[in-house]
């Protein structure tokens, strides 16, 4: 009962504060600017450099449009997600609202899980919605654009994003600074990118998920079984760890 009440609060907080604008706003920007950017990049470069590069550049396709979307997800949106989430737990501790609610029949596990679930709801809802916008805008210039590669790429990124959410929640439960928690999240992200340089890490661990959306968006076949499984497993472990860390903290 108290978990549902707190989750309802967290969801209302998303709608009634800056949170509703940041992630969906960046996703919307990415969705509406990606396809025209892909469509007109060649013309733009021709205008700027004369016809020097024009013969060397292939004509744009839906693959270029989807690549704009997947690159934005993997970088810009991932960074925004990490930064916005840094103070999810530590912010409530700092402002004293955590004490107010945790001296009522709300468990600390419920507190942390509510943060995870509400973030996932925002993330999945806004990403899926903007994926459809991306597809629609892409169809304007590339009517033969298939939906499958876009869906696969977005789904792969969402799975990876859940891992990022779990990492930042652990950090936000452990440290009092929102910026510090975001820094830990960004550090984890860059470590995974670096780990991807080594083949076995790419094949067996979540490092394989970092660039998978770009490949899937280009309709390239990628074996994601183990990266996906290890990402899902690590996400569950990290959410559990966030709960344990927060339960041990004094408020």
């Amino acid at each position: 009962m108290s978990f549902r009440a707190f989750l309802a609060k967290d969801l209302r907080e998303i709608v009634r504060t800056w949170r509703i604008w940041v992630l969906p706003g960046i996703l919307l920007f990415s969705a509406v600017t990606g396809p025209p950017t892909a469509r007109f990049t060649k013309e733009l470069l021709s205008t700027l450099s004369g016809d020097m590069f024009n013969p060397m550049m292939p004509d744009p396709t839906w693959v270029d449009s989807y690549a704009q979307w997947t690159k934005n997800l993997s970088q810009l949106v991932a960074f925004a997600l990490i930064i916005a989430l840094g103070s999810a737990i530590s912010g409530e501790k700092r402002t004293g609202t955590a004490i107010m609610v945790l001296t009522k029949p709300l468990t600390r596990a419920g507190f942390v899980l509510s943060k995870f679930v509400s973030t996932v709801v925002l993330l999945v809802a806004s990403t899926v919605l903007m994926m459809l916008v991306t597809w629609g805008v892409t169809l304007i210039w590339f009517p033969d654009a298939p939906f499958g590669p876009l869906l696969a790429a977005t789904a792969a990124w969402l799975l990876f994003a859940l891992l990022l959410v779990a990492v930042v929640l652990v950090a936000s439960a452990a440290v009092d600074s929102g910026a510090g928690a975001a820094g830990i999240g960004l550090g984890f992200f860059f470590l995974l990118m670096l780990a991807g340089i080594w083949g076995p890490m790419l094949r067996w661990t979540p490092a394989g998920m970092v660039n998978a959306p770009v490949a899937l968006g280009a309709d390239v076949e990628v074996d994601l079984l183990w990266p996906a499984l290890t990402t899902a497993a690590l996400t569950v472990v990290l959410v559990w760890l966030a709960v344990r860390v927060f339960e041990r903290r004094e408020l």
Binding site: M1, S2, A5, F6, A8, K9, E13, R16, T17, E92, T95, G96, T97, A98, I99, M100, V101, L102, T103, K104, P105, L106, T107, E250, L251
Partner: protein, 310 residues
């Protein structure tokens, strides 16, 4: 029956004893003042009682439930106001009360009725503004209201008046006083006047140690030290003061601000003063208007207990 019981409660931060073997009891139905100077360990004590911090050793129960292992059972029956209450600034006062009530699973229409009554009591009914725009006093009153949303059997208030102006303090003390007989109140403060005004039981904490616990009247009797008597005469107070000052039981004397023919005298032997004063006054040929024995104030008790070590 005791609502709160602690046994040798100790909390260490590094080498510092925030709490040092505190054993106390809070009787049911009391308005219990938890007194101590800043840094005495009052807030640490309340945090341990509410499961927000773990004791280094010892234990505590509220309504017989262990505060560490049975937190949910404790929280269900307790209302708490922290020293600086935190609110979601985007919510209105009414929304916050409804949210707080929903965490207790209070069903409709009880929740609506209770939230409305508490907003009325806090003087915030009909205020459509978000809490982010509230003054400190309004937040404190809303804080007390949210602590009452579950009709708690124990209300725990941490320094509820310390940051308020005199009017705000009076409002909050009136609110707390109105709860007497309806719930047990545990009220921490370093403001002696506030505690004296509304508490019937007091515990004094100093440097993590419980110095004394008892009713306010008991503490005054046991720890009030010298007794003060007020002597008021019809005329010639200067001659009366000179004669009284010469007596061996007179410790010191001071004029009464709003009565030019009266003096307060601290006496070391009350019985001797009772016998001597009428004779002194009669011998000087003046009339005795009053001979009052004044109770020691809580401040005198407190300074006597805590100040001696400083």
């Amino acid at each position: 029956m005791n609502v709160v019981e602690t046994r040798d409660l100790t909390k260490l931060y590094g080498d510092v004893h925030a709490l040092d073997g505190v054993t106390l009891t809070v009787p049911e139905g009391s308005v219990f003042g938890f007194l101590g100077p800043n840094g005495a360990g009052k807030t640490t004590m309340l945090r341990v009682l509410l499961g927000l911090a773990r004791p280094t050793s010892g234990g505590a129960t509220i309504f017989g439930h262990d505060v560490q292992s049975e937190r949910d059972a404790v929280h269900a029956r307790v209302g708490f106001l922290p020293d600086v209450p935190g609110f979601y600034p985007w919510m209105t006062g009414a929304e916050f009360l409804r949210f707080a009530g929903s965490l207790f699973g209070i069903p409709e229409p009880t929740l609506t009725e209770r939230a409305h009554a508490l907003l009325e009591m806090a003087g915030l009914a009909g205020n459509p503004n978000p809490v982010g725009g509230y003054s400190r006093g309004m937040k404190q009153r809303l804080g007390i209201a949210q602590a009452l949303i579950n009709a708690p059997d124990l209300l725990v208030l941490d320094e509820p008046t310390s940051a308020l102006d005199p009017l705000g303090r009076a409002d909050v003390l009136t609110m707390i006083g109105s709860l007497r007989g309806r719930t047990t109140v545990l009220f921490s403060s370093h403001l002696l006047g506030d505690v004296e005004r509304i508490c019937d039981q007091v515990a004094v904490l100093d440097r993590g140690r419980l110095v004394v616990q008892g009713s306010v009247a008991e503490l005054r009797r046991a720890h009030g030290g010298s007794t003060t008597v007020r002597i008021a005469v019809t005329e010639g107070i200067d001659r009366v003061v000179a004669a009284v000052a010469a007596e061996p039981w007179c410790v010191r004397h001071a004029p009464v601000v709003d009565d030019g023919q009266a003096t307060d005298v601290v006496v070391s032997d009350l019985a001797a003063a009772r016998r001597a004063v009428p004779g002194i006054v009669a011998g000087l040929g003046v009339g005795l208007r009053r001979f009052d024995e004044l109770e020691a104030s809580l401040e005198e008790v407190f300074v006597g207990l805590v100040g001696v070590n400083r």
